[in-house]
């Protein structure tokens, strides 16, 4: 194990939405659309006596990645858990509709969300569907949509479904992708079903390493903007088309997963079945060691 040093690159997990975009894209290349000065805030939060954010928790705009034009969106997981409210979601929908028309080299979605904002639940839920449909349209136009998951809030609820609609996904160890949150499962089916306070359990069930190993994500990145950038660059040229062939392959991929792992009790059982040696140690592996492991094992994930 390499000795840690005191001076390291900033953490993706800790960074703000704006800081992530600034570090991910080419230096000073980002231009925000409908920025904070436009003050397009949620009209609904005041009904609940909740404070608003000038950008409603999402930053959208254009920039370049290795000199290629991209459209990008970043959610701010610390504001209302990065949840999809009406304005927040519409900014992403608009960005995607623009992408279908303008055909940039890629669309990058920097997830950091607990799902639908429940104070605006009907608008948020409908918008999840609008976003998913818009992603499909972008992909049909031949533009890869790449999701990056490594924020505090992960990609939960509708965010998990949107992630599953992207052509490619990058995830870090800290990143979580799921539909139902640990607390929700525990509330509905008891602590025996899922102990939400057992964070090791949370991460091995929903976390980045598990998703990367089982094909729920296509690339694994260390917790830095540099690593996410490198992974995004690798993936945008290898995004699958959105067509019958891809969808049939995904059907086969997901069927195989159910068949192979449908009775697994816990993540390490699945990892063992995937040929991971010492699966009990996966959680403890450093980023480099895990990337090596991933290169030699793990499930196929081409079709999505």
């Amino acid at each position: 194990m390499s000795a840690p040093t005191a001076d390291r690159a900033p953490s993706w997990y800790e960074a703000s939405a704006r800081a992530r975009l600034a570090a991910l894209l080419d230096r000073a290349s980002f231009t925000e659309f409908l920025g904070p000065a436009a003050r397009e805030t949620s009209p609904h939060l005041p009904l609940f006596d909740l404070p608003r954010a000038f950008d409603d928790g999402i930053v959208v705009g254009r920039g370049t990645l290795d000199d290629r034009p991209v459209l990008a969106a970043a959610q701010e997981g610390r504001f209302m858990g990065g949840a999809f409210g009406e304005v927040h979601a519409a900014k992403l929908t608009g960005l995607l509709r623009a992408a279908a028309e303008l055909r940039p080299a890629a669309v990058l979605i920097l997830f950091d969300t607990g799902g639908v904002r429940l104070q605006e639940a009907n608008a948020g839920e409908t918008a999840i569907s609008e976003i998913m449909r818009a992603i499909v349209e972008v992909r049909r136009a031949g533009v890869p949509v790449v999701g990056l998951v490594g924020g505090r809030a992960g990609a939960y609820g509708g965010g998990g479904l949107i992630a599953g609609t992207c052509a490619r996904l990058v995830v870090s160890e800290q990143g979580r992708i799921a539909v139902s949150g640990p607390e929700v499962i525990e509330t509905n089916h008891g602590v025996e079903e899922f102990d939400s306070k057992d964070r090791a359990l949370v991460w091995r069930t929903m976390g980045g390493k598990h998703r990367a190993l089982t094909g729920g994500a296509d690339a694994y990145a260390a917790d830095t903007a540099e690593a996410f950038r490198a992974a995004a660059l690798r993936l945008i040229d290898r995004a699958p088309a959105f067509d019958l062939e891809t969808m049939r392959a995904e059907q086969a991929r997901l069927e195989a997963r159910l068949e192979r792992h449908g009775t697994a009790g816990d993540a390490p059982d699945i990892w063992s079945a995937l040929g991971v040696p010492e699966s009990g140690r996966v959680s403890a592996l450093g980023d480099d060691a895990f990337a090596e492991l991933l290169a030699s094992s793990g499930d196929s994930h081409d079709a999505r």
Binding site: M1, P4, A6, S11, K197, D198, R199, G207, G286
Partner: protein, 549 residues
């Protein structure tokens, strides 16, 4: 109390009564309540082991299960009131009097029960003070202690969490008292004898391993920029200024931030080897980067910390370890070390008044103090000099005294943010503790650290050096001058505060050459729990609730 209950005959009567439940010394967990009903007599003084860390939880449950018709009127003497059972026994009528030291999680219930009269508290002590009374006027007739394992002769292995056990057993067993130990397992041969078997009369094999609270684990991910700023001020304005090598830290995020910037900011200040090398401290995970960067020479511990076992075992050059390879902690010795051998205590509190008195007791919550009042006091029995100790005294002197007759001063630093969560001001006109004492008719307000022991108050606004204050008025304005935007702070005499600042009594970040905007999380040698694991070479194994991997 009759003499008979404290004499040797009483002990043999208790042992005989308990023998029916035992196979030799060994008692099954299912028989624990029956055992306690047999050996404990009404009115006994009983010590149940448990502090802010490990708990004799199986025996606590067994005691709470006793029939109050048989076991009643107990006087409980114990370090910590932590488990619900510790208070249940007062509600059921098994016990009626309590002398203790710490009650973190049960603080609110203690306050309520005191108010209702269902609980009579003798006093809230510091740990060392309570231990002392075990040997003078609060000697237990029965002690219920906890260890990792025992052999059939009753030899106990306490593992890294030795903590209070030797003290409690010493006070009980050598004064005709009966000692019952709960252990996780009975073994052929214990890895290390922490308590000799002839001091242990019964051993209960617990139904599950005893509980230990990871009280000293602070997630670096939750350290704020304000805490980092305060840590920078502490290092530059106090550690460096006085050359503090021997010290104790409290458990708050403020001191965790200091530990985490030693290898970064401390290094930059050139303080490595000059400060913070010898510690009376639990094995804080947040100290790992400093240990690994060569800052720390040695650490003696009150107790252990969950998940630190393998790491501590791998660093016998730093920590006190036994031949079995695990930590040997001892609360009484470490408290003594903190009192007499340390030049500085730095820790947090909930309220500070205009004289600098502090307390963690707030309305509706009697938390107790643990070791802080002992750590945070100037020991008049100290006789050995050190540069930091002498410099502090020199600052406090007006220069007219005889230098060779000058007693040194321990540095006692309160590191507090001016507002706590929910905008509760830290600085107040009157401590809630005083109000509580008045309302409850107590003889003494539960003050954690008295103002005359405090040498520095450090907030995000600056450092108030109380050693340099010459009058009560200066002292009050020095405190107001770092009290930020609290009412106390806004009530400052601006002119006088400016004067104090000129004299260096108050020092702002800029006076110390610290740019507020440099207080950044990138200064933390570890920013996450995972970073700490990396620093430890994979040896630190944090509890599940602190993980995000």
């Amino acid at each position: 109390m009759s003499e008979g209950e404290t004499g040797p005959e009483a002990l043999s009567a208790r042992r005989q009564a308990g023998a029916a439940m035992a196979d030799g010394k060994i008692v099954a967990a299912t028989e624990a309540t029956a055992l306690l009903e047999a050996v404990i007599r009404p009115g006994d003084r009983v010590c149940i082991e448990g502090d802010n860390q490990k708990q004799a939880d199986c025996l606590a449950r067994a005691l709470a299960g006793c029939d109050p018709a048989r076991v009643n009127g107990l006087h409980m003497v114990q370090s910590g009131v932590v488990l619900p059972e510790h208070l249940d026994i007062f509600e059921i009528g098994i016990a009626d009097r309590l002398d203790y030291s710490y009650s973190g999680p049960q603080g609110a219930r203690v306050a309520r029960m005191m108010g209702e009269g269902s609980l009579t508290v003798g006093a809230v002590h510091t740990y060392l003070e309570l231990f002392a009374r075990y040997f003078v006027d609060l000697t237990p007739q029965v002690a219920l202690v906890v260890a990792v394992s025992a052999d059939r002769d009753g030899n106990l292995y306490t593992g890294p969490n030795t903590e209070d056990t030797p003290t409690v057993v010493e006070a009980t067993a050598f004064k005709n008292g009966l000692v019952v130990a709960q252990v996780n397992e009975i073994v052929e041969k214990v890895p290390r004898v922490d308590i000799p078997g002839d001091r242990v009369h019964f051993v209960v094999e617990a139904d599950k391993p005893f509980y230990v609270e990871p009280l000293f684990t602070r997630d670096p991910g939750a350290v704020t920029e304000t805490q980092i700023l305060m840590a920078m001020m502490a290092l530059k304005g106090i550690y460096g200024e006085y050359g503090v090598t021997r010290l104790n830290h409290g458990i708050g995020f403020g001191t965790a931030a200091i530990e985490l910037i030693l290898p970064t900011y401390g290094e930059r200040l050139g303080l490595k080897g000059k400060v913070a090398s010898h510690w009376a401290l639990n094995p804080h995970p947040s100290l790992i980067p400093a240990v690994e960067s060569g800052w720390v020479s040695q650490v003696h511990c009150f107790g252990s910390e969950v998940g630190m076992e393998a790491y501590v075992g791998a660093r016998p050059d730093i920590f006190f370890t036994g031949p079995d390879g695990s930590l040997r902690s001892n609360r009484a010795f470490c408290q003594t070390a903190g009192l007499y051998a340390c030049d500085m205590f730095i820790g947090s509190t909930l309220q500070v008044d205009l004289q600098g008195n502090s307390s963690t007791v707030t309305t509706g919550r009697v938390a107790g103090f643990g070791g802080a009042p002992n750590m945070g006091s100037d020991p008049h029995g100290r006789r050995h000099p050190s540069p930091a100790w002498l410099k502090a005294a020199e600052e406090a002197s007006d220069g007219t005294d005889e230098r060779l007759m000058r007693r040194g001063r321990k540095l006692v630093v309160q590191i507090v943010e001016t507002f706590a969560e929910g905008m509760a001001p830290t600085f107040v006109e009157e401590l809630d503790a005083v109000r509580l004492a008045r309302n409850a008719g107590l003889d003494l307000a539960p003050v954690m650290i008295y103002g005359d022991d405090v040498t520095h108050i450090l907030t995000e606004e600056g450092i108030a050096n109380l050693l340099l204050c010459r009058t009560a008025q200066e002292r009050e304005q020095a405190i107001r001058g770092v009290a930020g935007y609290t009412e106390i702070g806004r009530g400052r005499d601006r002119a006088m505060v400016a004067q104090l600042r000129e004299r260096g009594v108050i020092r702002r970040p800029e006076d110390l050459g610290i740019d507020v905007l440099d207080a950044d999380r990138s200064l933390l040698a570890a920013r996450s729990m995972k970073d700490l694991v990396h620093w430890s070479g994979g040896l630190y194994d944090p509890p599940a609730r602190f993980r995000n991997w």
